[in-house]
Amino acid sequence: MSYTIFRTFQFHPFLLYPTSILKPRNRFFFSTTTKATQTKVPTSTQSKKLDKIPKDYEAVIGIETHVQLSTLTKAFCSCPYSYGSFPNSSICPVCMGLPGALPVLNSKVIEFAVKLGLALKCNLAFNSKFDRKQYFYPDLPKGYQISQFDVPIAAAGFLDVDIPLEFGGGHKRFGITRVHMEEDAGKLMHAENGNFSRVDLNRAGVPLLEIVSEPDMRNGIEASEYAAELQRLVRYLGVSNGNMQEGSLRCDVNVSVRPIGQSKFGTKVEVKNLNSFASMSRAIDFEISRQVLLHSQGQEDQIVQETRLWEEGSQRTITMRKKEGLADYRYFPEPDLPSVILSQEYVDAIQNCLPELPEEKRRRYEKMGLGMQDVLFLANDKNIAEFFDATLAKGADAKLVANWIMSDIAAFMKNEKLTINNIKLTPEELSELIGSIKGGIISGKIGKEILFELLAKGGSVKELIEKKDLVQIADPVEIEKMVDKVIAENPKQVEQYRGGKTKLQGFFAGQVMKVSKGKANPGLLNKILLVKLNSKS
């Protein structure tokens, strides 16, 4: 824990030096500049804060998300970007803001924005433009950020979310106010002794999409599920890796509280430094209870427009900066770039190439008769969903495949710390395995053995069955012989059985199975066994 605090302080010199020069009026660090280490928090801490929200208040939460696009090059120059590369190793006159250099738009940025806009069911602006958002800060080399102001490329959409059962379940639709394109700023690295700061412009000019939600969320879980769904969406679309730790997905949250029935919003507080969905949910719930407490004590005037910082270490939000009136960014249309014109054909082509989206996938799985828990498990991870679908495509039964993936395969991945992409089992073989069991070629028990072999070493089901002579014994004559053998070897138990202790049937079945080395068809075995046991009574 102390390590966390240390790290937080190190990256936030404001806290160390309240009179520091780093008190920008117009903006602040991106939350990701703090690489606060993940802290496991006992759930007791969490619930302690959660249960104190009285019923007569309601929270209103809106989220601004910045998604870093995984284009090969930056938004307005041909520099590549890769997270963690050496400072200023990927910069050029354009992204350094040197005199005379002009921006030229990377067309992939438009494509990705349109993709996300369509996936969020937004209205697209067929004629939008870029604007300059102006402020001075050392990580902003041009003195302005190229962004979109009054005409965002996409607006008025929504995002559908299935809340997990453990948080109450239910289907929610959250409104999307707008999606716009902009460029990222660089990064400041503050010296430990506070004497100087260095500027790393690798990230400057990297394309972002800013997604602004409607204030539709009411608690931490809804907010973090919204953000998680957004992450899934950008991953499904392939527009971003959505990685929160690397800052590819950054959420700033606005929280306000009002008495139930009041239509006017309460004073909103911005919460930053949310590095995971879990911390997002906790931070919001903390902030809600803090505001509710002030409300219930008649001190709502203590809730002021400010930016608060989530402290992972102490699990609370603290004041980072009070708002000094509205910042004036002096927006005006970016004269260095032509307007962004979309044609219907272009949009249609992108629409037609959209992959199946998480929501569509969940509804499809639901229609197959899978329970919501299965649906979420399978659809939440794009790779698992692909594996599942590929297995189905080979003809396997959906419920059976879901069971195998969610039980043994999931357990194996968890134990071995593997993802579905690096297990040796292929969808083809899983389908073959399920088919072999269903078709009676092997027993379920043998099936499991084969599964673990396939997971760890790979290979084909057919080969393994042949090599290990695992084909199920489904010949009644052969099974009858084994049953006879077991009955003959256990006269005492037979007597007991016939004396009324019919529970012993299980014992006999086990013995026969053992004789068959697990290969006997269980249905046939039981049928024959019953006939034999009962016939001589």
């Binding site: 030096y17 009179t19 520091s20 020069i21 780093l22 008190k23 920008p24 050496f86 400072p87 200023n88 190793s89 910069i91 050029c92 006159p93 350094m96 803001g97 040197l98 005199p99 005379g100 250099a101 002009l102 921006p103 030229v104 738009l105 300059r132 102006q134 001075f136 050392p138 080399p141 041009k142 003195g143 302005y144 400041l188 503050h190 010296a191 002794n193 506070g194 004497n195 100087f196 700061s197 260095r198 500027v199 790393d200 412009l201 509205l326 004036d328 002096r330 927006y331 005006f332 004269p335 260095d336 770039l337 032509p338």
Partner: protein, 344 residues
């Protein structure tokens, strides 16, 4: 270096129309590092420069020339007006029809131009912020005034580490990434403010302040937005006029050149000197300016420039007309008397 991006264009200068055409031909065309440059194919401008001896008697027969009425009215020096009228007569001798044409919004161009230009330049000049400019140490930045205060910050680019980079220009980044002065300050706002106060000249600072004001919340609609609307009106009025005329003509300036420093303390009078040319810039049209005579009784015979304005992408036509006009003008290849005097 950008001044007013939506207005900036390269001006070609030459000792003759043909020279200017050669230069323009060399630089014209799409520049893939400038998203605002046109992708339209460039015609051969050089085919228009026939020698004067091959001209017919009326080489510009049928060319419709419009003399912009608003540019020869009150406020324009009489000597300038008479020289331009003489140029118009010369066009008639070459076979053109010359008529006066009115562009009512012409006078709105100057304020609109200055609002847009200053707004954009206030933004373009933001990058001269003192951040990319620091003392001697390549990567470690010293506390600027050692031993005084622990909260002093300064900012540098660690560009110097990028030696492994293989782009040709990167070799020189360490020098180009640092420009201007950084004033030592104890507080970020002062670092910016003092660096810019010290590093920028007074005319530049005045323009930045005016542009910043015009873009400020609450003033944007009244200034910047209206100026953009005026720009559209001007563009449309030029388009209308150029539907009726092949070229439009006007003086290049309302007066002959003023003396160096003469209007230093009267910036508005100085800016007013741009009234003839800014409209063309706002409308996004090509124009050619060439000397067409001298102010007779004026200050030692200063030259008067004639501005010829063509429709968008009609540079070739302008060069052809300009070349014929120049080659057929009496004393076509002239030396201004003021220069001639000093040469003697």
């Amino acid at each position: 270096m950008a001044y007013a991006s939506s207005l900036d264009a390269i001006g070609c200068f030459g000792s003759s129309v043909a020279d200017t055409g050669i230069l323009l031909h060399a630089i014209a065309g799409h520049d893939r590092f400038d998203a605002t440059s046109s992708k339209q194919e460039v015609p051969n401008f050089l085919s228009h420069f026939d020698s004067a001896s091959s001209f017919e008697s009326k080489p510009l027969k049928g060319l419709r020339v419009g003399l912009i009425r608003e540019t020869i009215e009150d406020g324009v020096e009489a000597g300038v007006v008479s020289t331009i009228r003489a140029a118009a007569s010369h066009f008639e001798e070459l076979g053109c029809t010359v008529n006066e044409v009115s562009l009512p919004p012409f006078s709105l161009g100057l304020p609109a131009y200055y609002i847009l230009a200053l707004s954009e330049s206030s933004s373009n000049l933001s990058r001269y912020d003192g951040i990319r400019s620091v003392a001697d140490s390549p990567c470690i930045l010293l506390s600027l005034r050692p031993n005084i205060h622990t909260t002093q910050h300064c900012f540098i680019l660690c560009a110097l580490f990028s030696l492994t980079n293989h782009f040709a220009w990167l070799g020189s980044i360490s020098s180009i990434s640092r420009y201007g002065n950084q004033v030592y300050a104890e507080e970020l706002g002062s670092l910016y403010g003092d660096s810019r106060a010290k590093g920028l000249g007074s005319e530049v600072k005045m323009r930045i302040l005016m542009g910043t004001y015009a873009l400020s919340a609450g003033y944007y609609d009244a200034y910047y937005k209206r100026a953009q609307q005026v720009r559209t009106i001007i563009r449309n009025s030029f388009k209308e006029a150029l539907d009726q005329y092949d070229i439009l003509i006007s003086p290049a300036a309302p007066s002959a050149a003023y003396k160096i420093g003469e209007k230093k303390n009267d910036p508005l009078a100085m800016y007013a000197g741009d009234i003839m040319t800014v409209n063309v810039n706002l409308a996004g049209l090509p124009a050619l300016v060439l000397p067409c005579g001298f102010i007779e009784n004026g200050t030692a015979g200063l030259p008067v420039g004639l501005q010829m304005i063509g429709a968008a992408f009609h540079e070739g036509e302008l060069l052809r007309v300009g070349h014929i006009f120049e080659q057929t003008l009496e004393n076509g290849r002239f030396v201004p008397p003021i220069v001639a005097d000093s040469v003697e």
